[in-house]
């Protein structure tokens, strides 16, 4: 099911004018911010498809930047987000690409900062403010940000997924959906886990302590927004 509940149909509460181009865009931006984990000093924003044609008329640029500032879809500051971000020291570049994309409303965000690795996130806005994240740092994954989402970057080795899920299970955390991708056998891998409730910090620390774990991000947009 692409749309999971009633609030993905009635909702979100949002600043107009377009649920795909404004609210969805804000959620993709906010998902990227959560994945990156901190204020990004530099962000490259590349629009594809219908996004590329009409982003400025819909304020998609403002919405994505609002998301990068961790604003929700109905935050009135969306209107001024670009100037706010620039005042705070975020350097922004907007580009469009004619490359075909899987979904008409697709955007790629590259987040950078001093002394750390870049994160690239590709997301699509699929209607009514709902989104699908389809790639992170060249890993092909698929998730919606409708649930608290745990991203575990690790080495591909037998049993590692079981190790991770065993820890979640021992803490009573239920997994709703899971996606795993790897760059090659025994190479880098990414496991994305959507959970019914936020994962307690102690469990995250236990997962971090496993062998072959590179990095963990907890991306949760459900904290101050209704599902969807």
């Amino acid at each position: 099911m692409r749309f999971k509940d009633v609030f993905s149909i009635i909702g979100p509460s949002m600043i107009g004018p377009s649920s795909s181009h404004t609210a969805g865009a804000a959620r993709i931006g906010r998902a990227a911010r959560k994945i990156y984990g901190e204020f990004p000093e530099q962000v490259e924003i590349i629009f594809y498809g219908s996004f590329a044609e009409t982003y400025s008329g819909h304020g998609s640029d403002l919405a994505i930047v609002a998301g990068l500032l961790d604003y929700n879809t109905d935050d009135i500051r969306i209107r001024d987000s670009v100037s706010i971000a620039e005042t705070m020291g975020m350097s922004l570049s907007f580009q469009t690409s004619k490359k075909p994309s899987a979904h008409p409303n697709t955007v790629m965000l590259k987040l950078k900062g001093k002394g750390r690795q870049e994160d690239s996130v590709i997301g699509a806005s699929i209607g009514g403010g709902n989104i699908e994240i389809s790639a992170i740092n060249d890993f092909d994954v698929k998730f919606t940000m409708n649930y608290p989402t745990l991203l575990v970057f690790h080495n591909d080795r037998p049993g590692i997924v079981a190790d991770i899920t065993a820890i979640l299970g021992s803490g009573g955390v239920n997994i709703g959906c899971m996606d795993v991708d790897r760059k090659g056998r025994n190479g880098d891998a990414l496991t994305v886990i959507e959970t019914d409730e936020a994962v307690p910090l102690a469990l995250i620390e236990r997962i971090r302590g496993l062998q072959d774990i590179h990095r963990i991000c907890e991306a949760d947009l459900t904290d101050n927004e209704v599902k969807g």
Partner: protein, 304 residues
């Protein structure tokens, strides 16, 4: 959720002896683990935002961010005061309220996507005008939003609700179907009558393209919301009168998917065809973005 089609929705309601709204509320609470009270409250908050958006747009003229539209809701209001509207007072009020919410949306004001922002005027237009007319309390309307949500959930998962995927039929068309079905139930119709209202309404918007001038959710989106509210009233009336959708509503949703999938990309929200590419549409686009495409300064603040 227990249902994937409108027929399954009706069957579940019949089996449990509940309305579509009640079934949706129960299913939602079960699915999310959030209590029915809290879920109801969330929807009630959304209804308050809708009423506030109706009020904002009819009390004073609001100009859109682009300056292209605004003030039509106020025009309708004052026309209704001084004239006998051809479509009658009640339909005109639904129309004016729908325009109002859509105009507020175009100013980057706060609205609720129902199911999208492009179609955000239709459900508030129908609901708020009907509430005034029939003296319903807010709780009744909030349950109506759950009914509308149940219908939209089926449409969205079997077809689409975004203009970029399926054209305007997917946005405005879905909203009309949702409003029509919910209103049928709010007025005492059975779930079966309500889904006939959905099918009747959807058939009237099949094939509607998404061709916004300059890519903005303004022309023709705002007036289509006004028309949409009136169509929803008509569809609910037909269903309550016993008119049936001979092609079952689930099959009509299948047609929407077929038509939207076949729709060329220029008619799916890219502003590359339809009204957007008329001589006037092109001139407006050039005024907005400059001759070389997008001339607008990034981060420019909206004029509100």
């Amino acid at each position: 959720m227990r249902f994937k089609t409108l027929q399954q929705l009706v069957d579940s309601c019949t089996q449990d002896g509940v309305t579509m709204g009640q079934l949706m509320l129960t299913e939602q609470a079960k699915e999310t683990g959030i209590s029915e009270e809290q879920t109801f409250q969330q929807m009630a908050d959304y209804y308050s935002i809708m009423k506030e958006a109706v009020r904002r747009g009819i009390e004073e003229p609001v100009a859109s961010r682009s300056g292209l539209t605004g003030g039509d809701a106020v025009r309708m209001q004052s026309y209704m005061k001084n004239h006998e509207p051809s479509s009658g007072k009640e339909a005109s009020r639904a129309l004016a309220y729908a325009l109002s919410v859509s105009e507020v949306n175009a100013t980057m004001g706060r609205i609720v996507a129902t199911p999208t922002a492009g179609s955000c005027g239709i459900i508030p237009g129908v609901f708020v005008s009907s509430q005034e007319r029939f003296h319903w309390d807010d709780d009744h309307l909030v349950m109506g939003l759950f009914s509308a949500g149940a219908i939209g959930y089926v449409i969205a998962n079997n077809s689409f609700i975004s203009g970029a995927e399926g054209g305007c039929q997917a946005e405005v068309g879905s909203a009309i179907g949702m409003a029509a079905g919910a209103l049928t139930e709010l007025r005492g119709g059975t779930p079966e009558q309500a889904i006939h209202a959905v099918g009747l309404a959807l058939k009237n918007s099949l094939g509607l393209i998404c061709d916004p001038v300059g890519g903005l959710v303004e022309i023709p989106c705002i007036v289509r919301n006004g028309f949409g509210a009136v169509t929803a009233l008509a569809a609910a009336d037909m269903a309550l009168a016993g008119v049936r959708s001979v092609i079952p509503s689930d099959e009509v949703i299948g047609v929407m998917l077929e038509v939207g999938t076949a729709m060329p990309s220029k008619h799916r929200e890219t502003a590359k065809g339809g009204l957007a590419q008329t001589p006037t549409g092109r001139r407006i686009m050039q005024d907005l973005y400059g001759p070389n495409g997008r001339g607008k300064k990034k981060g420019e603040s909206p004029q509100t």
